[in-house]
Structures are given as C-alpha cells and as structure tokens.
Symmetry: C2
Subunit: 225 residues, 2 copies
C-alpha cells in the first residue's frame, strides 16, 4: 500500500507523466494516435497506460480535463480578453504549445470537450463585448449573442483552417506558426473590425427590412428607410 509521501508523489508523477505524454501526442498526431505511440513517447509500454487509466477513452477524458484546467487557469491571469487575444497571448509562450494545439484539435473535432470549450469562449466573448459596449469601445449589436458566436466561430475556425494547411507541425513549430498566422491576420482583422468591408449600408438595411424587427430590439415605430 502506498503510505509514504514519496510513494504517493512518484505514483502521481507517473500518472501525470503518462497523461502529459498523451496530451502531447494527441496534440501533434491527433486523437487517432495509438496507445503504443503515446507509451513509446513516455518511454514505457502500452500495458502501463491501460493499467493506469483502464482504457484509451478514460485517458482521453483525463487529458480533456487537464487541458481544460490548464487553459482556464492560464487565461485567468489577465483581464477579460477575446478568445483570439487569449490564444495569441498563449502562443507567445512556447510552454503552452501542446495545451493550445490540443484545445484547437478538440474544438475542431467537435466532441463534448470541444463543444464545452467553445460555449465557454462564446460566453466569455458576450461578457467581453458587453464591457466594450458599456465603455464605448465596441459598437452595440442587434443580436449580441449571435455576434459573439459569429466572432468566436469565425476567428477560431479561421485559425484552425490555416493551421491545418501546415503539414505535420511538431511541437516546436506550433508557437512560431501560430504567431505567423496571427501576424498575417492582424491587419485584415483590424480593417474589418473598424471600417467594415461594404461601402453602403444598403445590404444590411435591406436584410433588416426583410427579416423584420431585430431580436431584442423592441422596434414599435415602423421607421422604414
């Protein structure tokens, strides 16, 4: 029985070592990576992983929980940020590279972990934009939740799409690659977010007319055109 302090510590570190190895392999090679690859990366045999986690699914769940914990804790440091800002700041720290890539893969896969992460980011963006509206920095929206969902899915999806264009990126390349991508999208993002793309308000007005009252806005006066 493990009673001594060193025993407990070594057991925990072994579990943690295997889990971290799994996170890295999952992040780099995707969630179809074999248990044997994960074990080899940790310098052990596949049976040890089964012995510690029972099944690959359980291992995956522990990885999800750990990555979620790392993600939220490394985000709580500063103030409220947009998900893109959070990711950008994490991309600056190479230590967070595996966790970050794991998060992106989770979201792209669309499983339960990815969905909860995404909903988390959307909620955060709603709060972030509300603060911005209150302080006069952000323009109010006719449907703040839809806008937050749109901003998160497009920015995150765009990042994912550009990442998937890089063939087999290893752990060392994640940070620089993310920073390069974020560098390249900074100008278009700022242009779009401050000036828009369309010169005329026609299309928006026509859509608002077609769709009727915008959600949330109790528009009693029929002020057309």
């Amino acid at each position: 029985m493990r009673t001594t302090r060193t025993d407990v510590a070594s057991e925990l570190t072994t579990r943690a070592r295997l889990r971290n190895s799994a996170v890295e392999i999952f992040a780099v090679h995707g969630f179809d990576a074999s248990v044997r690859d994960i074990a080899a990366h940790a310098g052990v045999t596949a049976g040890l992983i089964t012995h510690h986690f029972g099944s690959k699914q359980k291992l995956r769940e522990e990885c999800d929980a750990e990555v979620l914990r790392q993600y939220t804790s490394s985000k709580r440091e500063g103030m409220a940020m947009s998900p893109t800002q959070s990711i950008a700041s994490m991309a600056a720290n190479d230590e967070f590279a595996p966790m970050l890539l794991y998060v992106l893969r989770s979201v792209r896969e669309g499983g339960p972990a990815g969905v909860s992460l995404l909903e988390n980011m959307i909620d955060e963006t709603v709060r972030f934009t509300e603060e911005g509206v209150a302080s006069g920095i952000v323009r109010p929206s006719r449907d703040p939740l839809a806008r937050a969902r749109y901003m998160v899915t497009t920015s995150l999806g765009g990042l994912l799409l550009q990442l998937s264009l890089v063939p087999e990126l290893n752990l060392a390349e994640i940070g620089p690659t993310l920073r390069r991508i974020i560098d390249e999208i900074t100008l278009p993002t700022l242009e779009l977010y401050t000036e828009g793309v369309l010169m005329e308000k026609r299309y928006l007005d026509e859509y608002l007319l077609y769709i009727g009252d915008p959600p949330g806005g109790t528009d009693t006066t029929t002020s057309t055109s």
Copy 2:
C-alpha cells in the same frame, strides 16, 4: 476485351457508381471510412473496389478530381460570387449535398485537394473584391490579398467549425443544417461587414503606425519606435 459499346458503358457506370458511393461515404463518415463500408454502401464487396481502382489512395484521388469538377462546374453557372455565397447557393440544392460536404471535409483535412480548393477560393475572392472596389461597393484594403485570405479562411473555417458541432449528420441533414447556420450568421456578417465592431479608429491607426507602411509601400527609412 471490351469492344462493344454496352460493355464500355457498363464498365464506366460501375466505376462511376463505386466512385459516387465513395464520395458519399467519405462525405458523411470522413476519410477514415473503410473500403468495406464504401463497398457495402454500393452493394458490392471490398475486392471490387480494389479491382477497379487499385488502392484506396487511387480511389480517393478520383473522388477528389470528381468533386473538384462538380464544384467548379456548379459554380460557373452564375457570376462571380464570394465562396460563402457559392456555398450558400449550393446548400439550397440538396442534390449537391454530398459534394459540398466532401469539399468542406477536404478543406478541413488540409491535404493537397483541400489546399488547391482553398487557393482557388482565395483567388476568386481577390477578383470578386476587386470588382467590388471598382464599382464602389467594397471598401479598398491596404492589403487586398491578405484580406481575401482572411475572409475566406474565417468564413469557411467558421462554417466548418459550426458543422463539426452537429453530431453525425447524414446526407439529408446537410442541406437544412447548412441553411440554418447561414441564416444564423447572416445578421452578424452584415453588421460586421457594414459597420464593423470597434467604435474608434485608434487601434487600427496605432497598428498602422507600429507596423510602418502597409505592404506594397517600400519603406526605406528606418523609422524605429
């Protein structure tokens, strides 16, 4: 030897039938779907597919080519459109559902087929926005190529991200799902594209000042800080 006309026709239709079956299975179940599943969906055995295409890789390549052909031909009907518009118009036609889902999966996977499709869309968007700028509809950009790349990757990536949140969508649900997603993002897209999000030009101006002259401007003076 196949000399008669009927022989050639039947052979071609068999190949086409297998190929179309493969496209559907790849579209719905992803590119990890087994050859046996594809064969079962076509009502044949796995050996027949190997006999006709040699290997799974070859089958995949023929599917890529066929889908690319369908995509470009079903797009050439109208005038120049943004990729999102093209996808939206295709989503209205349930017949295009497998091809459309296959295209989206290809792009998400990031293989050669997906990369060429994406580059194709970016080029098209550059031309599309150039026409818009010329006719006064679209606001000029400081870096038109970067903006086109940004618009394509974000809109397409956002679509992909929202699609991956729908668990195991079958062929009949693709059309309605895509239409629902596009409906939900229409208002935020129009808001963002006509009004932007930020109230002040500060952030853009500060970035332009920080980065120096926008690309295309040959900045010879070493203007530090």
